[in-house]
Subunit: 458 residues, 2 copies
């Protein structure tokens, strides 16, 4: 039995990045992966969705100009060709990841890992059971699509995100259950490829985790594109009936489409890992509870979706970096994520980092601190005008004279992400914004305008 400095369960963004950094720093490292390197993000999540959205962006750009009567034309997406390009890209990336692990001397163990006790992991590989000893264990097993009773993908016409991304043919009409980021990105890509969209959510607004004004902008844009939005309605069931997917609302109304996507959140991959053998605590939803050092038990860490802190690939990578730095003795304090940027792609895009106005307001009420907001509309920005995509805004949240949060919605606002995250981290004041040389003309100047706008109570 080989004993490793670090055994990692899961080869997604968190696990892979930890393996590369640990091995690169001289730690003897094993990576256990039951399916494919790259995890959900590469194989069934962020990356294939972005390939769909990137390939179809011209459709939206053209539509915006056509609406201004500046352009005419039409664009046809060859969906099988796009799927083949996507699959090839993902396979090539997986291969490159494997080569990188090998070059750094990481032992990649293909199979389902199971903890048998402190310092010991058993893996069911195709060549039989392997036992790995470990001084430290990192659980980075991620999450999978969630479902509710009556809302269970059946693999026929009712699919989860994994199923939709694997389709051979784009359906002519699509029911999307769930107006969160996954549902919205996939619905946009499908719409650009010609699918008629019906989107249903039990919440009364799209992107329910975001600022309500963001929801309003999204709803108005998608309605104008002809989506059938049904918000604040309860779904009784979604089922395959012959060649169609049939959505039945609680009132009995039926919606029929070629296909349905269930995108109602995700659940952690914590079953069957043997976590009980280590005394790890799971939350009600099944996430691994971690302390301020991201530890779930002595010498056992959990990063990424599986700890439920923030279901974002870059959050997993950031946590992984912390854990490896800690194992190397480079840092000892608690984990600090700083402001975490999140992005919805498509047109419009949504970006957020730091405090969100309604949340800040609640917190402020509790703390008695003054929270103010300032904002700018994209319609005043020349680049938004150039792209004829002027719906949206940038909103800044201020606390004690310093910037504490930024939210934006509109075409291209993801370009603000790094800079906005950084200035929240720096706690910029109005004077900092005045002194900075924003390049002109840029969409970024909408952030400048928001930073310099009059502040109002939330």
């Amino acid at each position: 039995m080989t004993t490793y400095d670090l055994v990692i369960l899961g080869g997604g963004p968190g696990g892979f990045d930890a393996a590369i950094e640990a091995a690169g720093s001289g730690l003897r490292t094993a990576l256990v992966e039951a399916a494919e390197l790259g995890g959900t993000c590469l194989n069934r999540g962020c990356i294939p969705t972005k390939l769909w959205l990137g390939a179809t962006e011209a459709v939206d750009e053209l539509a915006a100009q056509a609406k201004m009567r500046v352009a005419t034309g039409d664009i046809h997406i060859d969906f099988p060709a796009l799927q083949s390009r996507k699959d090839k890209y993902i396979a090539a990336t997986r291969k490159a990841m494997g080569l990188r692990l090998a070059a750094l001397g990481v032992d990649l163990v293909a199979g389902l890992g199971r903890i048998t006790g402190p310092g010991s992991v058993e893996v069911q590989t195709s060549e039989g059971t392997k036992t790995l000893g470990c001084r430290n264990l990192l659980v980075a097993t991620g999450s999978r699509p969630g479902s509710f009773p009556g809302l269970t993908p059946d693999g026929a016409k009712v699919l989860d995100s994994t199923g939709l991304l694997a389709l051979a043919e784009m359906p002519g009409s699509l029911i999307v259950v769930g107006g969160g980021f996954i549902g919205l990105e996939m619905a946009q890509a499908a719409h650009r490829m010609g699918a008629k969209i019906t989107l249903v959510d039990a919440l009364p607004r799209l992107a329910g985790a975001e600022d309500p004004e963001v929801s309003k902008t999204l709803e108005s844009v998608f309605k104008r594109q002809g989506w059938d939005l049904r918000l604040g309605v309860k779904v009784a069931s979604v089922k395959t009936r012959g060649e169609h997917a049939v959505l039945t609302l609680e009132g009995g109304e039926e919606v029929v489409a070629d296909c349905a996507l269930i995108a109602v959140g995700r659940k952690p991959n914590t079953a069957d890992l043997g976590l009980e053998a280590l005394g790890v605590t799971l939350t009600g939803a099944g996430y691994i509870q971690t302390d301020a050092q991201l530890q779930a038990a002595p010498n056992v860490y959990a990063v990424g979706d599986v700890n439920g802190r923030m279901l974002l690939a870059h959050a997993a990578s950031h946590q992984a970096h912390y854990v490896v730095e800690r194992l190397l003795g480079h840092i000892s304090g608690p984990y600090d994520s700083g402001p975490v940027p999140s992005i919805l792609y498509g047109a419009p895009e949504v970006f957020r980092a730091g405090l969100m106005a309604p949340v800040a307001q609640d917190g402020a009420k509790a703390q008695g601190a003054a929270v103010l907001v300032s904002r700018a509309q994209l319609i005043a920005n020349p680049i938004a005008q150039a792209h004829a995509a002027t719906a949206g805004f940038v909103k800044c949240v201020w606390r004690e004279g310093k910037i504490a949060g930024i939210t934006a919605v509109g075409a291209g606002v993801s370009r603000l992400a790094c800079f906005a995250t950084q200035i929240i981290q720096l706690g910029w004041t109005r004077e900092d914004a005045e002194a900075f040389m924003f390049p002109h003309p840029t969409l970024d100047e909408s952030l400048k305008a928001a930073l310099l706008a009059d502040k109002e109570a939330v």
Copy 2:
């Protein structure tokens, strides 16, 4: 005669921003503008060019996907409709600027201003000559297209940038003399609207002020698009001959096209201002010499193109802010631009701020300091892959372990501008880059990859 705290000559980005800030802070302010509010940038430069590029972006997006055989289709730009949209947008923006000046109590004086002595400006208005007294004078008269003997726009088929932007019909073929940013942006927009491009420059490479590797990338992309690039060649003349523009090279070879654009740099608007009355010094090329406080003479400041420091709209605005802050007594030290971001729009885009590698190398040799570079290719980035636009790179210049300059070329790299400028200003180390949470997947991760790549000697 009214005496103002500040009289400003020129209503472009520098002059307008200075007027708004000065009047907003209580200074009695007059703005003298001989032509249109907004200056070159709004009326004949950055903004109309970006409206052309924004309106035509779908053409390039589609072409990239078509090359991958993922999409087919065609797009027709209605050029008269685009011109009309552009003209309306510019007129509306000018109107809004005028209203803003009025609301703040700025006296807008329409006419050519001429300095008659310290503290006195005469303006030839449509209602006769007005005399303005001033405690402080700000010269922000900008620049105009330059020309050389044999390369003089004739207003028929040989045009400068102003003439090209005013065309009623997009020519089927276009000769562009000058491979700088103005020539490249206009050539790209024209190409997307169907014009066959011949681009000529006396320099052996495109974008001659940029990193030579940037030039190489641009040349390879534009050649693949079918441009006829003639670099390192000397032009004898460009003339209108009947319905065509005829370019004659020094060897005698002729190139004929429907139209020719002369984009061989710009020259400052310093003639006929009466600057000699104040003892202001002009450089050889006619720019106003300014000291470390942007002063050209006691109580006389010059900002923007006219001082020749940096011919960029945002540099003018940044300098204007400094001057007003100084007049208000808020600051007293010398002007510090910090790293100045510059952007070429189109596809690819170019971004640069801070030290450039070859320049840094020269400087380093002189100073004996170690300058290193690190880089990442866009082809490794999933967003670049999604847009099938993978030509390009991000390059970091390091000095004494801190980031001192960033250059990038490729589709969408302008999104790095603010963030890159900021981290140069902060003097990020490798550890700062490791600790920052870059959102995934983003084109911004190409900057992360470049920051974390191995450093090499220049």
